[in-house]
Amino acid sequence: MNTLRLALAMLRRDWRAGEWRVLLIALLLAVGSISTVGLFADRVRLALQQESHALLGADLRVSSAHPLAQAYRDEARQRGLRVLGTAVFPSMVTRLANNLPSVMQPVEVQALEDGYPLRGKIMIVDATDVNGSGHQALAVPARGTLWVDARMLRRMALQIGDEVNIGAAHLRVAAQVVRDVDQAVGFASIAPRVQINLGDLPATKLVQEGSRINYRLLVAGEADDVAGYRSWLQSKIKLGEKLEDVRDARPEVRLALERAEHFLGLAALMSFVLAGVALALAARHFISRHLDSCAVMRCLGASQAQVLRIFLYQFLLLGITAVVLGSVLGYTAQSVLVESIAAMREAGLPAPGWQPLAQAAASGMALLLGFTFLPLWQLKRVSPLRVIRRELGVPSANTGMMYGVGAAVLCALFLWQAGSLKLGLTVLAGLTAGLLVFGLIAWLALRGLAALPLGKRHVFANLARHGRSNAVQIVALSLGGMALLLLTLVRAELMQNWQERLPPDAPNHFMVNIQPDQRAAVRTFFAQHKLAAPELFPMVRGRLIAINQRSVSADDYAEPNAKSMIEREFNLSWSEVLPEGNQLVQGKWWSSVEPAALSVEEGIAKTLGIHMGDTLTYDVAGNQFSAQVVNLRKLRWDSMRVNFFVITTPGLLADYPASYLSSFYLPPGRAQAGDALLKAFPNLLVIDTEAIIAQVRHIMDQIAQTLSAIFLFTLLSGLAVLYAALLATQDERIYQSAILRTLGADSRYLRRLHLGEFAVIGALSGLFAAAGAALLGWVLARNVLEIPYAPSPVFWLVGLAGGMLTVMLAGWLATRRASRMSPMQVLAA
């Protein structure tokens, strides 16, 4: 107890003397930035999730051709979830007009319960809209009314207020839907869509035996509750009932989400690294300043354990203070951040959870102890003899072990924070290699420069004399710079490369059910309307029934995804060449002579346990065929092109009934051409995917904005490293300046000496930072994002000039005092 009191008293006294400031600032910034990143990322993640859930109109959706059990609804309510039902079915809308012939239009009818949608919003234009720009719908269509989309208005020449019939129900058009949730890309959404109130469903008299109604139960609520409900439901679900959330439903959205999480994780990891470096430097500084105090205490009778405890209590108390203040800082910073970015404010981000704060607190303490415990251990071993022999420094410690512990803590934090082993290890490996290589090169460079017959010999000689500590400083600065460059320039370039993968003329329509004899006519139609010629893919629907002659059923698989793949029919296609956007990962593409072979997408192969050389048997309309898997392909699902899981050699499917499908780009304002296409080929199903693309792009934009904001905090952490690095050698510089001034150096000479040193340190750091960031960016691009990347030349220039100027400015600010202090002040102290 007495030791604790003593520790507190010493902490208070040391605090007064400013000894703790650097450590506290470093840790405060670390916890602050980690919690800011964490809280912010959490909110954005929740928002992104909700945004993508808006694509379903809910967090979870159960659908079936039969009305769903009341028990599903009751259980959801009991768990505090919001729940509602909808019914979706194809039907015909008939326009009623006194003097005109009646017009009919096939539509998809959505009957909505009050409260729809649970996620996202529907934008409508109704009679109350003066300028026709649309507003958010606050309720579902009132009884006796319906909402229609732009295609309906155009095709049926309707106006708001007109009256139509659906089945036996007589309804008035109350609004036009401008933006809808739940825009399916699947082949179900073939017709324009209308929305009615679920209460009007009986009046249509369309609910009868054999009607193709799809009943849906939508659920939304807190993520944990939804997850709990989901696992409950999975045990209850019956055959023919389908359970999906956004990740099941939309591969392209899942990809966008996962990449967003990767990037945010990366930003948080950088804060860790920077904090670790700042703490290590600050701890070194702290310890060198407390050697005397330790020796005196040992001399006055303190045991090693007592000395260790005194400092450990202080460090723990410092840690707790930094964690509390850092959390407050982080919480405040992220709210300010969200409020100051218009897009974020308007997005109405959900409140963050408490986990990011707990995680930041735990990480902060782990960092503090990981990077300071061994130096403290060293401090307790200071020889008491130091009181009479000042030249005795820190007892030699196992530095390898010291850095090892720090690296281990970082490693653990990485894996914890990143969640992705691959990302964590990529960054960590880059870091460790960078540290070692940079350190060695820096040391060699300093020695080499000193040996060269250059003009500023005294500068280089001075740098080389403190080669090791300067090399450490250069490495620390490079790390800070590397993080900054990685998150600014590399990030911007990566983001651009990534976004360019979805070019503005990405296909926005799918065209299905083209008959073999219509192919030429369809191509001619596109040429006549000056649209790019579509690539037509043959398609045959078949079910996988056996792998290597062993029949397969849904029961063979545990994963629900795999089960549903076995249960439903695959779209099979054939091709002579490897389709665009596909990439072989195993095996070779076939030559034209091969009679029967299959090419399988690697993801589905993994899910279903299909390997190279396996023989797959498919059932197509009652007939069967078998063929061997000769290659595996990788697909880009976010390309918006027609993609197939399984492709066969040409000829294998020749005897089966095939239809063709394609994707094409219809520029805005050319909607008429789409309508003309449908008129010319009434059997075609044309699906508008523009909305989906817009939504994916919107998510990408949000990610880009978020990253720019989070970068601000990493920048602060980088500056903390810079500060700690300069401070670590400041005492020595001040002392050296005093001696040089005593020997007759004027302040101009000292300024030039210092600026020269800082310029060399900054230039080397900047170059290393650029090299490291470019390398790490390349590794990330290749291994995680799977896109090509090469840094632009301006990147190196920014690194070099930026490093030089920043270090010179910061160094000048830090040592300005040194050239002004009188030598007596310094040497007498």
Binding site: L6, R16, M297, R298, S303, Q304, P384, V387, I388
Partner: protein, 222 residues
């Protein structure tokens, strides 16, 4: 009277540039309780090393030291530290006050390390005896060299040590201030009956001690 400090065949040897360098060679002597002894010698004669060994701050290559009858080097470092806390007080050339602590807090430190309950009162008392009551809340930076050394004296005597080790206590002070500090130290020494072991190269100062021990090239001169 029993010897309070006894050095037995002390040898200190270090490696310097790969060569063994002998700093102390076979040093033996005894100091009686209450005695004051000056260890004299030129720079590099090994006198500071000897003081470090006598106080158990350093470990000899061979030989040992008995402090109040206890074989110092049969103890481990922590046990020696406790023994120092109980028996010894220190005054150094460079004062060695903790810069972050006030004068009073510096004087309280050894008492606090020993877990003494009335550290504050005793420390104030000690400061009063060195005439620094008015300056008790100043940090070392704001004290003159003489004042700092007086604080160091208060810290050394506050635990009522049996032995006071002093390493060039006036080395950083001007002549007049040094004289005041020495007067004070000798007076406290007499008042508390402390054994004084003083390292110096100052002959005049050495003569004020009861006995002088001269070191040259690591050996005690006869």
């Amino acid at each position: 009277m029993a010897s309070i400090v006894q050095a037995v065949n002390l040898v200190k040897q270090v490696q310097s540039g790969g060569q063994p360098l002998v700093i102390l060679q076979d040093v033996s002597f005894a100091v009686e309780a209450g005695e004051s002894i000056a260890i004299l010698g030129a720079s590099g004669s090994g006198k500071s090393t000897l003081l470090g060994l006598l106080a158990g701050l350093d470990v000899p290559s061979s030989g040992t030291v008995f402090l109040d009858g206890v074989d110092l080097f049969a103890y481990d470092e922590d046990e020696r530290a406790r023994l120092r806390g109980r028996l010894a007080g220190f005054v150094f050339q460079s004062f060695q006050l903790l810069p972050a602590l006030s004068a009073l807090e510096n004087v309280m430190l050894p008492l606090e390390l020993q877990g003494k309950p009335d550290a504050r009162a005793q420390a104030l008392d000690a400061l009063q005896r060195v005439g620094l009551t008015q300056r008790s809340h100043h940090v070392p930076k704001h004290l003159s060299g003489g004042e700092q050394q007086r604080v160091a004296l208060a810290r050394a005597f506050v635990t009522q040590p049996k032995i006071l080790f002093a390493d060039e206590p006036t080395g950083n002070l001007d002549a007049a201030t040094g004289e005041q500090v020495i007067e004070l130290m000798l007076e406290l020494n007499r008042a508390q009956g402390t054994t004084l072991i003083l390292v110096t190269h100052d002959e005049a100062l050495a003569r004020r001690c009861g006995r002088q021990l001269r070191l040259s090239a690591g050996r005690v001169l006869p």
